[in-house]
Each structure stands twice: as structure tokens, then as C-alpha cells.
């Protein structure tokens, strides 16, 4: 999937994979923070976005869920 998304031109930093077991709490926390930072650094996504609401794209900090 990673290769496929990169192949169609989506920034590689948007998709990350990691093996984490439920017993590895620290690894989970560190990974989540690393992924969050990596994605934030890329800025708002502008590919494969379906904009339904007319008010514009959600802010990167916004925790809105897209249905």
C-alpha cells in the first residue's frame, strides 16, 4: 500500500507502518508523536480530499472527524 500510494504521487510521509504490541506503551507513545510530527511538518493535505463542508478544509490542529 505504501508503494502504491507513493506511486500515485501522495507524499510518503503521510502513511506510516509500525509493529506495536499492547505491552509496548512507550513505543506506542513515541511512534504516535513521531507520526504526528511528520504529518504536521507536511502541512495540510491537498490530495484526495473530499470537501463537503463549504467552510474550508479543517485546520491541522482540529480534531474534527470526517464521516
Amino acid at each position: 500500500m505504501k508503494n502504491l500510494l507513493e506511486y500515485v504521487g501522495i507524499e510518503p510521509g503521510r502513511l506510516h507502518f509500525s509493529w506495536i504490541s499492547s505491552a509496548e506503551a512507550e513505543k506506542f507513545q513515541k511512534t504516535v508523536m513521531a507520526v504526528t510530527d511528520a504529518v504536521k511538518a507536511l502541512g495540510p493535505a491537498n490530495q484526495m480530499i473530499k470537501q463537503i463542508s463549504p467552510e474550508g478544509a479543517a485546520e491541522p490542529d482540529d480534531e474534527q472527524e470526517v464521516a
Binding site: Q51, I52, S53, P54, E55, A58, Q64, E65, V66, A67
Partner: protein, 342 residues
């Protein structure tokens, strides 16, 4: 309303006239694809295409259309209320529509606008603001069978104007007041021109290679046709995809759903296709057309039996032949109708 003559070097003026207060569209062939494009001059317009890949129905019935929106915010003044979207209906002049497609709109008018309770504004407002200038077919293609289904290569229904290519000029048939207003500055047609057009019509009808008969279908009882053993074989190759439905000028089924993003939601209408199992799937889990056979039978019964019964003999097919050309497994409506008629 007298018919007129349009000289081929006067096409730019004609297109400009059609473009007064409206956007003009015409088919344009670009390699493999023939699509509807906005045009502004004669150079943009093709006259020797066969027909467009997709029918023009999405001028009036877009594949995706937002019908209304709502805000899920009890505090806001306009929250929790469905608000209708403004119907996006802009004036259009549609040039060089084939008579089969134009007739299809007449059939769809009967379905989308029936009475007070069934008045589809999304359809009607767009239709009322459009002008249709058809282009008669002088050379039907092998898969056309319009003259077998109450239509024909020079059929005049559903058009405000119709161009007939006489070779060195066009005869312009004036078919409505709306159309007349666009050609009042053109010279009247002479008897010889009318005669030539009549000749072309006759030769086009004679050149129609594909014919189907529907007379016996009209006589048969619905259940007799429905239970016929032929359906056990017709459905076998069908993929149950949406190709025939989506390219068809008379198919009109749709699905409405709500889409939500945060506090905002909208209600959209999308084309749907009765070949899909999901089309008739009930919330309970029951599916009245749960088998491929029932869905394939439905398509042909609807077009060739149910619509004629409900709409005074109108057939739900205009013989454009697109489904024959595009079906990935070559399910041929002509073969099916012949079987229904036997």
C-alpha cells in the same frame, strides 16, 4: 413556422445567436472520445460524429448533484434545518443533439415532471432554460435502431430546432417558438430544400440496418413475459455493472444520501443503476431483486413493457445503440427484444 436555410458560412453567426444569454454546447470528437463541449465558434463544432459516448442527460440530471444542506448546530439560527440548494440552472443551447437523445428527454419529462406531487425542480428548471437544436442523422450506424422504437433518424420530437445537412447548406426545421426566435433572420427554405430533406430522411430510414419488433410485446400479458424461460439464459453473461444504465439516455434511476463533515451536512443525488444488488436492498436485509436474473429481466421489462403500459405506449428506449456498443459482454438489447417479441 416556416423552415429556414442556414448557409454553412453563416454558422458562426448562428452559434453566436444561440449563445445570446446562454452557453452553447455541442459534441466534439477528440480521438476515441466524443464528448459535449462548450463551443463559441463554428471551428469548435463537429458535424460528422456518430454520437457522443455519454448521453446528454447529465445536462439536466447531473451524475452528482447537491439537493440541500444542513447544519447540525442547535444554537445557530439556521442550524438543524434542511435548506434547499439553489438549483444550478443556467441557460444552455445544446447544439447537434441527435433525435434519439432529444426524444429521450421527452420520455424523461414524463417521469420527472408528472403532477403537483411529482415535480422534480432539479430537472425541470434546467430543462426550461435550455434550447435544443438537433442534428438529423443522414447515415445511421449499424447499432442504431431508433426507427423501431417510435423514433427515427429525422424525428422531430423534443427539439426546438433541427438541422438537416443538405450538403452545401443546412435546412433548419423550426419546431418551437423558442427555436423560431433564434432563426428569424435566416432566409426561408425553398420547396427544393424541403424535398431534399425529405429524400435524406427516406434514405436514412431505408439505411437503418438494425430493426426490432415490439408489436407482440404490447399484446402479451406482463406476467407471461415476466415468467418466460428466456430470462434464464439472457442473464448468464451479464456482469451487473452500470455501463448500460449510465450511457443510456432514458435511464434515470438515482440514489439519495446524506454526507456529513463535522457539523455540516449535505444531501446528494447520484446516478444509481438497477443492475446493482444494492439498488433494491431493503434495510431489513430482504432483497426483492436479489438474483442476477431478476435484475437483468427488470431492465428490459421496464424499458419495453412497464413503461409502455404506464405511459400510453411510449417505449423506454430510443434506439441510440450506446448500450450495444459499450456492454463489456455484448448483451445486445436487439437480441433480447426479439426474444421478448417472439
Amino acid at each position: 413556422m416556416a423552415n429556414k436555410i442556414l448557409a454553412k458560412d453563416k454558422l458562426d453567426d448562428f452559434i453566436a445567436k444561440l449563445g445570446q444569454g446562454a452557453e452553447v454546447f455541442a459534441p466534439k470528437q477528440d480521438g476515441a472520445k466524443t464528448t459535449w463541449q462548450a463551443v463559441s465558434s463554428a471551428d469548435d463544432v463537429d458535424f460528422d460524429f456518430v454520437n457522443t459516448d455519454m448521453s446528454p442527460k447529465d445536462f439536466f440530471f447531473p451524475q452528482t448533484e447537491c439537493m440541500m444542506h444542513f447544519k447540525n448546530d442547535p444554537g445557530a439560527e439556521d442550524g438543524m434545518i434542511f435548506q434547499a440548494e439553489e438549483v444550478i440552472a443556467t441557460p444552455k443551447s445544446i447544439l447537434n443533439m441527435r433525435p434519439c437523445d432529444a426524444k429521450a428527454f421527452q420520455i424523461l419529462d414524463m417521469i420527472f415532471v408528472q403532477d403537483e406531487m411529482t415535480d422534480d425542480l432539479y430537472w425541470r428548471l434546467k430543462r426550461e432554460q435550455s434550447l435544443i437544436c438537433g442534428l438529423a442523422c443522414n447515415e445511421p450506424c449499424p447499432t442504431c435502431f431508433c426507427s423501431s422504437v417510435n423514433c427515427g433518424p429525422h424525428h422531430e420530437v423534443g427539439q426546438d430546432l433541427q438541422l438537416v445537412d443538405l450538403g452545401d447548406k443546412f435546412l433548419v426545421k423550426v419546431l418551437s417558438e423558442k427555436g423560431e426566435a433564434k432563426v428569424d433572420d435566416l432566409p426561408d427554405a425553398a420547396d427544393a430544400d424541403e424535398a431534399k430533406a425529405a429524400e435524406l430522411k427516406a434514405s436514412a430510414e431505408a439505411a437503418m440496418v438494425s430493426k426490432v419488433s415490439t408489436d407482440k410485446i404490447a399484446e402479451k400479458e406482463i406476467l407471461e413475459l415476466y415468467e418466460d424461460a428466456m430470462w434464464d439464459r439472457v442473464y448468464e453473461g451479464c456482469l451487473n455493472c452500470g455501463t448500460c444504465t449510465f450511457v443510456c439516455p432514458t435511464c434515470h434511476c438515482f440514489d439519495i444520501q446524506d454526507e456529513v463533515q463535522g457539523d455540516y451536512g449535505r444531501r446528494v443525488r447520484n446516478w444509481d443503476y438497477c443492475m446493482s444488488w444494492l439498488f433494491t436492498m431493503h434495510g431489513t436485509g430482504h432483497n426483492p431483486r436479489g438474483t442476477k436474473k431478476s435484475r437483468v429481466r427488470q431492465r428490459f421489462m421496464h424499458k419495453f413493457k412497464y413503461i409502455p403500459v404506464k405511459r400510453d405506449g411510449e417505449i423506454g428506449c430510443v434506439g441510440c445503440g450506446r448500450c450495444i456498443q459499450m456492454c463489456p459482454v455484448n448483451i445486445d438489447v436487439r437480441q433480447v427484444v426479439d426474444q421478448m417479441n417472439s
